[in-house]
Symmetry: C2
Subunit: 146 residues, 2 copies
């Protein structure tokens, strides 16, 4: 998929505001709205754009705590964990990584008690390390031309 200047301008605008109308995008980058629609469709079909999402504040939604939890899975427990983790509502992001530890997760929690019960759910799968998030310094910054 060729990402020319125009496509990158569209990606930039949609990353900044996914609900911007095609007409408005067209006005800003100097093409007609059908042309914008066509380009967006191709970007979606090529899976350059994988979806559009509203960013809901976990804090405003009742999650007072954010944490980074690292897991070092016990022998034979990595596969079961990878299946199970999808069902944990607390886990916003989960990465499988290289190194001594196998998993890094970003989790949201209601309070300390919730953190405690969540960690208890993990101990069957492996050793955990928990780091509480103090602030979110950079938040889903936009992908730029490589």
């Amino acid at each position: 998929m060729s990402l020319d200047t125009l496509n990158w301008k569209i990606l930039k605008l949609l990353q900044q505001d996914a609900r911007m109308s095609n007409a408005e995008i067209g006005r800003r980058i100097g093409i007609s709205s059908p042309a914008v629609a066509e380009r967006i469709k191709k970007l979606e079909d090529a899976e350059v754009i994988q979806g559009y999402t509203a960013y809901v504040s976990p804090f405003k939604a009742g999650y007072q705590l954010k944490a980074i939890i690292t897991l070092r899975a016990f022998m034979g427990m990595l596969k079961p964990f990878l299946e199970k983790v999808k069902s944990f509502d607390e886990v916003v992001n989960c990465y499988r990584i290289t190194g001594n530890e196998n998993i890094v997760m970003e989790v949201v929690l209601k309070n300390q008690k919730h953190l405690e019960t969540f960690i208890d759910k993990l101990i069957t799968y492996g050793e955990t390390k928990t780091q509480i998030v103090l602030s979110h310094v950079v938040k889903d910054s936009e992908i730029k031309p490589a």
Copy 2:
């Protein structure tokens, strides 16, 4: 801000597809489109919804590598780093955390060479630990009622 059942249904739909029209949302949850528009506006004003974004595949955009980099800042280098990190295009997310290490970052990189030059940029600020992401098991899962 009160998050009733209807508001949570709207949040769910917008998290799944931020470009869904108000009319379509209204059809699915059983209210009129002006009512949807009004509720969305209030959710935005209360900063429950903090924005709408297109998810662009880093891989399709030319970033072959993803990594989790942990930084333990040198004495007096945390503040300068927190200022500087916003300008690093490679950093998609950056958290300040509790514990021995001060910072966790999610970064996207073109290739190993790019990883090397990026780590070089960090060594003035502190000690780094790099973990290459093998797979993204859970990706920005939606926030659910707490």
